[in-house]
Amino acid sequence: MTEFVTGGNSPHINTLRNIILKWAPLFVLASLVLLFPIFEWLEDFWRGKDHFYLIDSRFFSIRNASRIAVAATPGLMIAIGVTFIIIMGSIDLSMEGTVSVSAVIFAFVFIALGGTLAGWAWLAIPIALVVGGIMGFINGFIHVMFRVPSFMVSLAMGFVGTGFALVLTGGDRIRVEDELFRSLLTVRWLNFPIMCYVAMLALLVAWFIQSRTTIGRNFYAVGGGEELAIASGLNVSRVRIMGFTLAGIFFALGALMAVGRIGIAETATGNNFMFISITAVVVGGTALWGGIGGVLNTLVGVLIVNVINNGMVVIGLPNWLQDGVLGVLVITAVVLSTNRKTISFVK
């Protein structure tokens, strides 16, 4: 819902502004990682305790890094999904509903098929992914076929999804206690739980889709200039629907991670993912206008969001501050990534 006027910088030209924008998220992440230990050092210095900067930090430790990684994993999957959409210049706000539905259906099927990954219950995983994909497909289909702005379709679909999950569960929580499935969280390699490695694998797949497949390049083509994409013969409608479907699959993956992390599937499984994932994508440097950024940016963005949340707790700031800080952060990120010379107004 943005109107552009012609002219201005292309994101692919290496002006100083574009170079700064490209590296800013990584710079912010590094600064944050170095910043929080300073507060810890100051606190101990105040109390007269011995504290060697970074070495004695509770924040800057493997244990805390693993904690951040675990907290970030479900959000990372969801943010990767929405990255594809934002690259196309659209937006998907349905993640809360899609995650809840996928999580609940996963749990039902998992338990119905025996309740252990060692048996047939592994089928619940592909089924959950298919459910996510279907939700995404419906999203994309309505968006493209009825020509309705994506933010509104997906917002409504999110409500439908949460409502559907509520109908399925009747408000109950479903426990998934299979040891093998929970080993996602409980088994650690090199201090990090398996789910972090699964997430890295998913990130790799997403990166491959984004940069080494036709559909991935088409996302950028649509986001970079839709008229041009249409003029060059691209079936934009198909690309959009595929994008939303792909996003749905990644949302479902996020749902699996969320269930693996808590061991419970419920209507509230998807809560709060919408704002956090959008914030992460935008903060990572994928512009809302589409065409720039990618899944690696999203990794940085997710880490920034989680480092802030975690760091604020470690240095003892009250947790009510987090929502507000994220709110300010997302506005700042959008403002910084917007080239005001090329935009006349937004809705």
Partner: protein, 314 residues
């Protein structure tokens, strides 16, 4: 009698037909006493939807209304003892502040309204959590009755809530149709570039629209808080969906420019009738959200003005 001619009347036709259907199935629906209770129950939603109408009328959206209402329930509960009825001014002031902030960020910083209002909503959530200490707060019954007891009274059988609603509707109707601000809103909603070209201060109009939305969300929060005699950071959750549904079902499309507050009154009544029907049909409460979500998708699809989207729908 072409489709185009009929289109503006669709919401009203829908409302009448729904009412008749529900009434035939359940004749008790038409009892004046029951009807008045139903309508009085929906007043906070109506107020929130009235404000939201302004944001949607200019082609934007305000996703912060629910969080603002949440925050206001906390503010009302915390400051009622100290300020009594004058807490109304704090409520309106805070609502105006947050709405203006959303508008300012949207227009001056070019942040699309769905992101800016979402973000401002989370700032409001922070404030609510901070003020409430993340607990559910309750009002002192005497303070509440002294200051706001009259809201729940009746004059000649008409609940005062309803009178408040009518006064507010008249106010926004006047604002929309009889003041230059209303005409400016129409201009911005119909075509922003044309409005800019004709020398209108579009940014100011848009900021004001979000400001009105914030104020009404705040008043809705106040009503809600007084009604439930308390406040917490999640009290008004679940209001966003029906509020958007009420505006869109009433016939103000996402693209803005047509419709308006009277349409929203109609939309809110439709929401009310649907809810009453669901209660009568014994549709489980858990299904309401799904039903309204689907209604929302249908309403958007039917009302949106595709000629304004200029070929590309993002």
């Amino acid at each position: 009698m072409s489709f185009k001619f009929l289109k503006p009347y669709f919401p009203w036709i829908t409302l009448v037909m729904l009412t008749i259907i529900v009434g035939i199935a359940n004749p008790g629906f038409f009892s004046p006493a029951g009807m008045i209770i139903l309508i009085a129950d929906i007043v906070p939603l109506l107020i929130m939807a009235l404000g939201m109408t302004f944001a949607i009328y200019i082609g934007g959206i305000d996703l912060s209304v629910q969080q603002i209402a949440n925050m206001i329930t906390v503010i009302t509960t915390v400051y009622l003892a100290q300020f009594g009825i004058w807490v109304v001014f704090i409520v309106i002031g805070v609502g105006a502040l947050f709405g203006t902030l959303s508008g300012y960020v949207t227009t001056r910083f070019y942040v699309p309204s769905f992101v800016s209002t979402l973000a401002i909503g989370f700032v409001a959530l922070s404030v609510a959590k901070w003020l409430s200490g993340q607990r559910a707060l309750y009002m002192d019954a005497t303070f509440r009755d002294n200051s706001f007891g009259w809201v729940f009274g009746k004059t000649w059988g008409i609940p005062h809530e309803l009178i408040i609603a009518v006064v507010l509707v008249l106010l926004v109707w006047f604002l929309q149709t009889r003041m230059s601000f209303g005409r400016a809103l129409k201009a911005v909603g119909s075509g922003e570039l044309a409005a800019v070209a004709s020398g209108l201060n579009v940014n100011r109009v848009k900021i004001l629209a979000f400001c009105v939305s914030g104020i009404f969300a705040a008043i809705a929060g106040l009503m809600f808080s007084v009604k439930l005699s308390g406040g917490d950071a999640q009290l008004a959750n679940g209001f966003l969906l029906p509020a958007i549904v009420a505006v869109l079902v009433g016939g103000t499309p996402l693209t803005g420019g047509v419709g308006g507050v009277i349409n929203t009154v109609c939309g809110t009544l439709i929401v009310m009738v649907i809810r009453a029907a669901m209660v009568y049909l014994e549709v489980d409460a858990t299904q309401q959200q799904m039903v309204f979500g689907i209604i929302l998708i249908i309403a958007i699809t039917l009302t949106i003005d595709r000629s304004k989207l200029r070929g590309i729908v993002k």
